[in-house]
Every structure is written in C-alpha cells, then in structure tokens.
Symmetry: C2
Subunit: 223 residues, 2 copies
C-alpha cells in the first residue's frame, strides 16, 4: 500500500491527493511536519519537503509532487490528467508550474508562514502587512483564472486536467487561511464550487490543521 | 523555426538548450532580459521568466522549462532524456526538480542577484556575505552530486538523462559567476569535465554575458 507523507495544509500534497482520488489509487496518510526536519524524513527526501510517497512492499520511493503526478499519469490509465496533443500537454504543465510556483510563492507561501509557521514554531503573531499583500496578490491571480475560464471550460482546456487540480489545491489552502475574497470573481468561484462537490475533494475539505480554523465558508459547497 | 527567448546566464534556458542540442533540434536565439519586464514578453509568459519557445509559423508557444523539455521528449524520439521504467523516470524528474529548485535557490539565484542584477540594474556592489553563503552551499551540493556519482555512472542512473543536463546547466552558471570551488570534488569534476567536451555544451561555453567575465578555468575542458 502506498504511504503519502504530508500535512493537512500542504498544497503540493493536496494536488497529489486530488490526482490519486480521481484515478482511484488507494493510499494511507502519514503525518509529516517538514519544518521539524526529522532525520528519517530527510533521508527519504534531502529537499525536506512534502509530499513523499513510499511503497515499502515494492521498495518504491517517489519524491517531488510533479514527479509523483507524472508517475501515476504514466502507470494508471484511468482519468488521464495530462491529456491531448503535445501542445495541450505543454499548456497543462505550464499552468501546473504557474500555480505551484507563482500562486504558491505570491500567496500560499506567505499565508502559511504568517498564519501557520509563526503560530506553530515561533509562537508569534502574523504580520498584517504581509497578509494584506498576499490577499492583494490573490485578487490579481483570480483575475487571471477568471480570464482563463472566460476562454475555456476548464483551466487547461476543454476537459479537467492536472492544471485544475494544481489550482484547486493552492486555492483551497489559501481559502482555509482566509486569503481569498471571492467577491467579483464569479468565473473562478463557479469553477471552484463545481470542484468542491467532487468526491476526490471531500477528504481534503473535512480535514483540519491543529489550532488553525478555516473561515465558515471554507467547507460549504454553495459558498 | 523555433525561437528560444533567453539570456546567456539563464540556467533554465541552458537546460533546454542542452536538450535541444542532444536531440538535434534547430532553433534561433532571441535575447530577452526578463528583469526589464517587457510588455510583449509578459504577453507571452505572464510569469515573466525565460525560457520561452515560439514557432510563429506553426502558431506554437511553449512556456516553462520543464514543460518545454517534456514537449521535446514527447515529440522528438532521438536521445531520450527521461528514460527507463516509471520509477527511473520519477527519479530523473526528482533530480531535475532538485537542481531547478534547491541548487538554483541556494546558489545560482543569489549569485545571479549579487553579481549580475546588482551590476546591470542597481549599479551596486555585491554583498560579500551573500556570496560566501552561496559558495558554502555549493560545497554541500557538490558533496551530494559526488555521493550520487559514487553510486551511479550518471546522476540519474546508468545513462545520461535530463538530470545531468539540469545539473550541468545550473553548475555552469554558478561556475561562470565564480561560485564553484572544484577542490575536493573529484567525482563531480570528472563528470563535468566529460560534459564540457560534448558538442551540445560548446555554444554555451563560448557565450559571454556583457560586462561580466567568467574565471579563467570556466571554458577550459581540462580544468
């Protein structure tokens, strides 16, 4: 059985979990807090980051969220999430990188630092200026997803792809941490509403990170 | 004909150029300085980063270095660089991500900022402490590549893969900027020496970034 090392608010682990859910791959969760830099975890992944997947029976170890997604895309035929022509697939991968790097760097990383790491590790209050900047960046990013959804049925094209899973993963963590103001972003809100009703998303919405509560609308389907 | 938007010290463009060289794909270089945030370039890539590849005749636009590499891996059979079993391919992609994220973040990004951006944009001197920290990080990273090469013929396994190209791309920029002390890292130095003699590497070694000179050993094959 696959084991997935993660913590509830890791957006990269959420992307992998959405993919595994859509493909119907079973796994068990192993809680890992990468900021503790546990020796046994660093032995598995010298980069010290979640997610990591291990199948001890088969002596398999998968590290890096994109390498993990490509692995299951190659080995599990059901629900292809990097689909279409080579140019379509390049566009899907561009968007995954956009959400994993730009959206994460501008919004999710500062929110996690201010609202989670400072609370759990430094016992310090969040910096209001940093929070404001992350929320402002979120508005610009939602303008971009609105723009994409004005031209396409899903973010990466005509069908649901890994671009949607990567976006939903990042947005859901930002939303949990109170970083998303949904007013005026109807296209993205409509897309996200549909996403929230998918079976693959239910386990994520039900989970809570200790001592950090999400806003009331977080797990509501019709927010 | 493909056009590759890049600047001489962009490590991600170098990775793509090494791949195109190994696969025998022709392209012309278009000089882009992403720190100038040119409007026409931001229209092609809202992330504002090199490399971008365009084929105007075929109306194709490829953005993000990994998406570009996967595209040519899928469309050009010659010299497969993400090869082997699904597990082998996952290990290759893990290492590409390691060099693109960890090696770049710890070493190449601070060197580029201190030695290139400060000179070209801010007209300021580099911060000696930042340079020392990047060079110290480089020693630890070369310990890791030494370790990998003690167990494998190439970084990603038995054959040359995209992991080697990603590593050589990052290391070559760090070396150009004087960030690499080769003493005591014989395994990695031997691997890099072999790499420097490949035809795909020659155009990169011959190029110079304006106003920034590399150390004397940079382009020497037997350094």
């Amino acid at each position: 059985m696959w084991q997935l090392y993660q913590f509830p608010l890791c957006p990269f682990s959420r992307k992998v979990r959405l993919l595994l859910g859509e493909k119907g791959v079973g796994y068990e969760l192993v809680r890992e807090s990468p900021w503790q830099r546990r020796d046994e975890f660093l032995d598995m992944n010298p980069a010290g980051q979640t997610p990591v997947m291990a199948d001890p029976d088969k002596n398999l170890l998968l590290v890096d969220s994109m390498a993990i997604c490509e692995y299951f895309e190659e080995t599990v035929e059901k629900s292809s999430m990097i689909s279409g022509t080579a140019a379509n697939r390049a566009e899907i991968r561009r968007l995954v990188s956009w959400f994993d790097t730009q959206f994460y760097g501008d919004i999710v990383a500062p929110l996690l630092h201010e609202r989670m790491i400072k609370r759990l590790v430094h016992r310090a209050a969040p910096d209001a200026k940093m929070l404001r900047e992350a929320m402002k960046a979120a508005l610009q990013h939602l303008d971009y997803t609105d723009y994409l959804l004005d031209h396409r049925h899903w973010l990466g094209g005509a069908t649901m792809t890994l671009a949607d899973l990567a976006a939903a993963a990042q947005i859901s963590v930002a939303d949990y941490l109170g970083g998303i103001d949904w007013k005026g972003h109807e296209a993205t809100a409509g897309w996200y509403r549909g996403f929230k009703s998918r079976p693959s998303f239910q386990p994520l919405l039900a989970e809570r990170m200790e001592v950090i509560s999400p806003p009331a609308h977080y797990a509501v389907h019709d927010f």
